[in-house]
């Protein structure tokens, strides 16, 4: 087998007696856009800081192209970090900020100037080269921080919540822009984020972290459509959970009706379990193997789509069903209306209760 580009081998981190990262092993490929996704306190940022060299590791090893970097100080690692706060030097201009890392490599002056000019062109901020960071907008600062890290041509670029400080509209623009730049530079990106949508849109692969450990690693589609735990299913997107009773591979909903499911978690035994289905997989009328009926208790109009909240005997919380605008045009749902939905077995997951 060929060696991994970046190999994280059983890495641990203790702060005093508190375990922040619990034996994480992960191989990341060259040119991959990898996302570490988790809530705050999941250990994702600590892992990133260990890759950058700002936290030493309590156990395990980190290798790039087969060479351990675990003992190198931050200024000797072939890795750069884009800070969440951007961490631009306030007393330097945009050009000076970007040149700083190259000056540290003792490159000749004209090469520094040329490379700074090149990257300024790429991020389209050439006209602002003489500005100080506090004269820039949030989006511009973000691009300068990115350029300052990219200009060093690191083997791995680490990004700490790269879009966290931007507003909604700018964020969705920058999602694709970042992805484009990663392709253009051919550098491995490792991004830390708590925003599942950001991870889904940008990453080639996602690792879900919880309590310092990896819960599931895979491409976005797999993470979304084949969650391997109830936590992952709930953490990403919206998921309806219906309590069921498991009995030698067959599942019964609360009202006794059978639930058939293609994806049954290994940990499901006999007794209480939950069936899970996404709102967009529920459709009006018969058509799937599984059925439920209930009453529309609320309609949340999102323009693009409606979300129907349906009270049903199958669970205590309302079931949420997504209805696209064209379907809604045909059905014109109203609050208080009885409604029957169905969904298919291949969209159904069973997890331990």
């Amino acid at each position: 087998m060929t060696q991994a580009f970046l190999s994280i081998q059983n890495v641990e981190k203790y702060f005093a007696t508190v375990r922040a990262v619990a034996g994480v092993s992960l191989d990341i490929r060259e040119n991959e856009f990898f996302a570490l996704l988790g809530a705050s306190g999941s250990g994702k940022t600590t892992l990133l800081r260990m890759l950058a060299g700002f936290e030493d590791i309590s156990g395990g090893d980190i290798l790039i192209e087969g060479t351990s970097i675990a003992k190198l100080p931050p200024n000797q690692r072939p890795v750069n970090l884009m800070f969440q706060s951007y961490a631009l030097f306030p007393h330097m201009t945009v050009a000076q900020n970007i040149a700083y890392g190259l000056e540290m490599e003792k490159l000749p002056k004209n090469e520094v100037t040329a490379r700074v000019a090149d990257i300024l062109k790429v991020i389209q901020l050439g006209h602002l080269a003489g500005r100080k960071p506090d004269q820039l907008s949030g989006g511009q600062r973000q691009r300068v921080a990115l350029a300052r890290a990219l200009v060093k041509r690191p083997k791995v670029l680490l990004l700490d919540e790269p879009l966290g400080a931007l507003d909604k509209k700018l964020r969705s623009e920058m999602q694709l822009e970042l992805k484009r730049l990663q392709h253009q530079f051919g550098i491995t990106f490792i991004m830390v984020t708590h925003d599942q949508e950001e991870a889904l849109v940008m990453a080639d692969r996602i690792a879900i972290m919880k309590d310092g450990a990896l819960l599931q690693v895979g491409p976005p589609k797999e993470i979304y459509e084949l969650p391997r735990s109830r936590f992952a299913a709930d953490f990403i997107g919206v998921m309806n959970f219906l309590p069921v009773t498991a009995n030698s591979g067959a599942f019964q909903a609360r009202d006794g009706s059978p639930i058939t499911a293609t994806h049954v978690n290994d940990a499901v035994g006999t007794g209480a379990a939950v069936a899970a289905v996404r709102p967009e997989r529920l459709s009006i009328g018969e058509g799937g193997e599984n059925r439920l009926s209930g009453t529309v208790s609320a309609i949340a109009y999102h323009g693009l789509d409606l979300l129907l909240h349906i009270t049903t005997e199958l669970s205590d919380t309302p079931v949420i069903a997504r209805m696209t605008a064209d379907v809604a045009d045909r059905h014109r749902p109203e609050t208080g209306q009885p409604i029957a939905l169905s969904w298919s077995a291949r969209d159904t997951h069973i997890f331990p209760a």
């Binding site: 950058a52 060299g53 700002f54 100080p73 931050p74 200024n75 000797q76 750069n80 970090l81 800070f83 969440q84 706060s85 961490a87 631009l88 030097f89 306030p90 007393h91 700083y100 890392g101 540290m104 490599e105 300052r148 890290a149 060093k152």
Partner: protein, 263 residues
């Protein structure tokens, strides 16, 4: 809260209280330019009392002493105070006790500090003079410089230090190219504050100057002269001391908005 009556009451209080402050100060400054020198009558604008100061070798000597003490104690306390502030901030985990030790001198009454230093120099058998005033003023100023720099450090974004390391800089390079330039306005503000405190300080200098007149400073000179009543020369001297303070502190505040003690 914005009703005119409340506001008018506030203005009145402001007026009465500050009349007590600004009228005497204005009179003092005015008299220093009064030809006749007497509070009873304005006999014309003149700088002759300032001229008289320039001809008074005692006062020139005191001014020289003050400058020497202020410059040396400012340079030393700024250097040490900045180092301390940065050191304390880095080792924040060592916590409260370090901060208490550093800032306690701001709490200890000047007169107690003066007595303690005097006893110390006597016990050690140190011959007192300008050098003992300088040492005393360093001890006195240090906490203030440290406080000004620390105030700036509270809003200091430490991620730029990590960013510098990440971009390949050594600790020393980071210190010279990132930390010190970013802190420079606060360091200069601290130095100006130290300078003013040293120029204005009376009681510590008085106790640690030793016997004789060779180490007398300006506030001590004013104190000595005032036994014979408030003379026009004193007004001129006080005006000069005040101008130095006001200019230095205004500069300091400009450089370090929000970081000046008490603001």
């Amino acid at each position: 809260m914005t009703e005119p009556r409340t506001y008018r009451l506030m203005l009145l209080i402001l007026g009465v209280v500050f009349a007590f402050l600004y009228i005497p100060i204005s009179v003092l400054v005015g008299l220093s330019f009064n030809e006749g020198g007497l509070p009873t009558a304005w006999t014309g604008f003149s700088v002759k009392w300032y001229g008289a100061l320039a001809g008074n070798s005692d006062i020139l000597k005191a001014a020289g002493n003050t400058l020497i003490v202020a410059l040396f104690s400012t340079v030393l306390s700024t250097l040490l105070g900045t180092l301390l502030a940065v050191g304390v901030e880095i080792r924040r985990r060592n916590g409260k006790w370090l901060e208490t030790i550093i800032f306690a001198p701001m709490i200890i009454p000047d007169i107690v500090l003066a007595i303690a230093l005097l006893s110390m120099f006597s016990l050690l058998g140190v011959k007192m003079g300008l050098h003992t005033i300088v040492v005393s003023h360093v001890v006195f100023n240090l906490a203030f410089v440290c406080a000004v720099v620390r105030a700036r450090l509270k809003s200091f974004d430490w991620s730029i230090v990590e960013a510098s390391a990440d971009l390949g800089a050594s600790t020393m390079t980071t210190l010279y190219r990132i930390v010190i330039p970013v802190l420079m306005p606060a360091i200069i503000a601290g130095a100006l504050l130290a300078f003013t405190l040293s120029v204005d300080e009376f009681i510590i200098a008085f106790f640690t100057a030793g016997a004789g007149r060779s180490s007398i400073t300006l506030p001590m000179q004013i104190f000595a002269m005032i036994r014979f009543g408030v003379t026009p020369e004193i007004n001129a001297l006080a005006t000069i001391v005040m101008s130095v303070s006001v200019v230095a502190l205004a500069l300091s505040q400009r450089l370090n908005k929000g970081g000046l003690p008490g603001q």
